[in-house]
């Protein structure tokens, strides 16, 4: 790879492809692109391009291929793992101008949209037809659907409605080699390999997505939420397993610990029981009768699971209020401390109590408070580590603590990332989750799409060299990941 392309020459060439105003290269114009939602990682790119036609994307990729210049595609930049972090000697390609909803097909219940369309905008556009797009990452007001596909984004409703990979039909993709691929179809399956699954969550390493056909669902007839309080976090964790073992599939099942629920209550006056050690929000949706039946059933399970208080939202207003607290939890926690660091490990549900105990021990060990608010139904943890970036070395200690939390998740039979992606942030922990053979297999797949390693290089899949260095550092610290936990 050419490490220092001639910037002036690059700009001149790009001006042949794009209008002058669509090529940004002045320091003040590049600054807004220096990071995505993970602001701890920053890098100003060499150039930012803002194409608005497929032909322009094609020409940019072809230029990059010929000049061996790396290119990073970016949507709304709300990702939390540094997946859209620019490269110093690379081109950052923003797809923000691809923001049109091409078509809503009511009979087939699909929407064909450009990658820069906001997640929530799809549901808003479909709403008049009684339809919606199910995956709802917390950034759904701002995040773009192209980024959702790249990261296989989730949200509150995954347990029942699945992740992005379960809710898309078709992608139009351009590869670095200039191939236009139609992946998936308007039918429920397509011939050959499941490239739709391979592309989803590939973090922009395999191709540039130029169009997405998503699945729309009829809005459920009814929905309601139960708020249950517990005097112990582990008991709340057990209640999660009990609900699911009883045959209930909640539309959402969220857990907040005391610090999180207090912060949220202070922020939006959600009416949470402030003395509870933890609360669960259990949402049931479906037909009116289904909701009535399952609310009854879920309350019974919660009572038997030692809930200290159970409230069913009395009306739509109260339901919205209960959820407002959960939805505001991250910004609310943001008020507790100058900075916070959001983790994303996923574990088997029966390990929730164990892992939360270990996290709390680590929090004490490092002297860094940790707040827990997460998708309990999926076992998808989001520990928020509170720190102050202005204190020398605190970010580094926070990252180290975060890394250890992820290793606990792996040791508990889980994974380092449930929905935020690996990006730059968790690249070292990939060496913990996968062995050399598996990592080489990933690289071979990357090679099939992008032999010159030009598309978002250095993200998502670590080199073996990087893992060797990380491993050496680990042994040096003498902290092998938690032999006391069972391994799978």
């Amino acid at each position: 790879m050419n490490t220092s392309p001639d910037k002036k020459l690059v700009i001149r060439c790009l001006h042949k492809i794009l209008p002058v105003e669509s090529v940004l290269h002045q320091a003040e114009d590049l600054r807004p692109y220096e990071c995505d939602g993970l602001s701890a990682y920053q890098q100003v790119p060499m150039v930012v391009v803002l194409p608005e036609t497929i032909k322009q994307i094609e020409d940019i990729l072809s230029f990059c291929t010929h000049q061996k210049i790396p290119v990073v595609a970016r949507g709304a930049g709300t990702g939390l793992s540094g997946g859209a972090l620019p490269l110093e000697n690379g081109i950052l390609m923003s797809l923000a101008k691809f923001n049109r909803i091409q078509n809503i097909d009511i009979d087939n219940r699909t929407a064909r949209v450009q990658p820069g369309v906001r997640n929530l905008a799809i549901s808003e556009a479909a709403s008049g037809h009684g339809l919606y797009y199910a995956p709802d990452p917390s950034s759904q007001i701002a995040c773009s659907i192209g980024g959702n596909v790249a990261e296989n984004a989730g949200g509150v409703h995954c347990l029942k409605y699945g992740l992005t990979v379960h809710n898309i039909f078709k992608l139009e993709v351009i590869t670095m080699q200039g191939d236009h691929l139609t992946i998936g179809s308007d039918a429920f399956d397509s011939p050959g390999y499941d490239l739709l699954a391979l592309m989803t969550g590939s973090e922009g390493l395999l191709g540039v997505i130029t169009e997405i056909t998503v699945k729309l669902l009829p809005k459920p007839e009814a929905a309601n939420v139960i708020l249950a309080a517990f005097d112990d976090v582990a008991t709340a964790g057990q209640a999660v397993s009990n609900i699911i073992a009883d045959g209930i599939l909640p539309a959402g099942l969220e857990l907040m610990d005391n610090a999180a629920l207090r912060a949220a209550d202070d922020f939006v006056k959600a009416g949470y029981p402030r003395d509870a050690a933890a609360i669960l929000l259990c949402e049931i949706d479906g037909t009116s009768a289904e909701v009535a039946d399952q609310l009854e059933q879920a309350q019974q399970v919660l009572r038997n699971s030692a809930a200290t208080e159970i409230r069913v939202a009395e009306d739509e207003q109260q339901r919205a209020k209960f959820w407002a607290g959960r939805k505001a939890a991250f910004p609310a926690v943001g008020r507790l401390s100058p900075d916070y660091y959001c983790m994303d490990g996923t574990i088997p549900r029966y390990q929730i109590a164990n892992v939360l105990t270990r996290i709390s021990e680590l929090s004490n060990e490092y002297g860094l408070p940790i707040v827990n608010v997460f998708h309990a139904g999926d076992g998808n943890l989001h520990p928020l580590i509170l720190y102050d970036a202005n204190i020398d070395g605190e970010l580094e200690r926070t990252e180290e603590l975060g890394g250890k939390i992820l290793e606990i998740c792996v040791a508990a039979g889980g994974t380092i990332t449930g929905e935020h992606g690996v990006g730059m942030e968790k690249i070292n922990q990939m060496c913990v989750q996968f062995n050399d053979r598996e990592l080489l297999q990933f690289h071979a797949i990357k090679h099939a799409f992008d032999p010159d390693q030009l598309l978002n290089p250095g993200k998502a899949i670590p080199t073996l060299h990087r893992c060797a260095e990380f491993g050496a550092m680990h042994v040096h610290h003498g902290q092998l990941p938690h032999p006391e936990l069972e391994r799978f």
Partner: protein
């Protein structure tokens, strides 16, 4: 049966790779019809069997690939759970590995999801004889490329499946089947309205002028839906016949499976059986239907069950041909996992 043959299988693949010996991966042999005959040394994984882990509260089952589908279904039924993609059991020997390798899903697919939707993780041996694990046993996992789902429908051409972790779901409290005498176009139009109204439809079938709908939910919910939808309550046997493809319609010669956008226009409804809310059409035709399916926005598969007298000849394409760029990327992916082309060569396409 409970035995772990991972090491033996790995050795065999590794050896075959060194000698560039093609392997014909088999287990229950119930889906040999679904692909071209493989000219290779037999690699039988049927004895690599056993459920390794199952906790009902986790909604996950992990089993070795040679585990019989019946064993898995029995274990799940004891906890009132199910494989919600309703995989076909063509014979009593069908295995979970074969089901996932072929990626087939039953009548509930549009409403509950496909085989690939329920795959959480897989342990495989690639063409170089390397044992690898992807995905996991948790609901959400975005670490690394989704190689486990890539295995679904790849029919062993990208790896020998050793273990699979699948998401399972609770069974519906109650099911009822309603029948309506109505033509296919009108029936599917009405189905779209029922779905908009939120009725708990979990399968549909139009056959010989009768539109059958399966409802799955709580008793109260089904009673409400039935009141609003009307129709006549009939036996639910139909869904088992469709799922396992034992229905007489599947036993015909020259049967084609057409997977189309659900609302694609329906012609010749008396010559087809229609499932999946209009998206799956089983049609009898002497000519191949690849072009027709493509025109309608989907794809076709030649579907000649073993029980039929005439089998597809090796020269006939079974699956919809892949076009230029798609074929090229398929070949490169195949090379990435099986560089010497020893795993089920040409089972899917002669180029793979």
């Amino acid at each position: 049966m409970n035995s772990d043959l991972s090491n033996e299988l790995q050795e065999k693949v590794s050896c075959a790779n060194s000698n560039k010996t093609p392997l014909n991966i088999t287990a229950g042999c119930s889906k040999t019809f679904f692909g071209h005959e493989v000219d290779g040394e037999k690699l039988d994984v049927s004895s690599h069997a056993g459920i390794i882990g199952y906790r009902a509260s986790e909604l996950v089952i992990t089993a070795r690939s040679g585990t019989k589908l019946t064993d898995i279904e029995t274990a799940l039924a004891e906890q009132n759970q199910q494989l919600a993609f309703e995989p076909p059991r063509h014979t009593a020997d069908s295995t979970i590995g074969g089901v996932i390798a072929c990626g087939l899903s039953g009548p509930g697919r549009p409403f509950q999801g496909a085989a690939r939707d329920f795959v959480l993780g897989a342990k495989i041996i690639n063409g170089k004889g390397e044992l690898m694990q992807f995905g996991g046993q948790v609901m959400k996992n975005v670490a690394g490329y989704d190689v486990s789902r890539l295995m679904v429908g790849a029919q062993g051409t990208l790896g020998v499946l050793l273990e699979l972790s699948l998401k399972v779901l609770p069974k519906a409290e109650t099911e009822t089947t309603l029948a309506f005498e109505i033509n296919a176009t009108e029936g599917h139009k009405r189905l779209r309205e029922w779905l908009s109204d939120g009725h708990p439809v979990t399968a549909s079938c139009h056959y010989q002028g009768v539109f059958s709908i399966r409802l799955g939910s709580t008793e109260n919910s089904i009673r409400d839906a039935q009141k609003k939808m009307g129709g006549e309550v009939i036996s639910s046997d139909l869904w088992q016949q469709l799922r396992h493809q034992s229905h007489p319609w599947f036993q015909q010669k020259n049967l084609w499976r057409m997977s189309l956008p659900p609302a694609a226009a329906i012609h010749d409804e008396d010559k087809q059986l229609i499932e999946w809310g209009g998206a799956l059409r089983w049609k009898v035709s002497n000519n191949d239907l690849f072009e027709q399916a493509k025109r309608l926005g989907g794809h076709a598969t030649r579907y000649t069950l073993n029980t039929n007298s005439t089998k597809a000849t090796t020269s006939d394409e079974i699956f919809q041909p892949l076009q230029g760029g798609m074929l090229a990327i398929h070949k490169r992916i195949k090379y990435a996992l099986d560089p010497n082309n020893i795993l089920n060569p040409a089972r899917l396409y002669k180029e793979l």
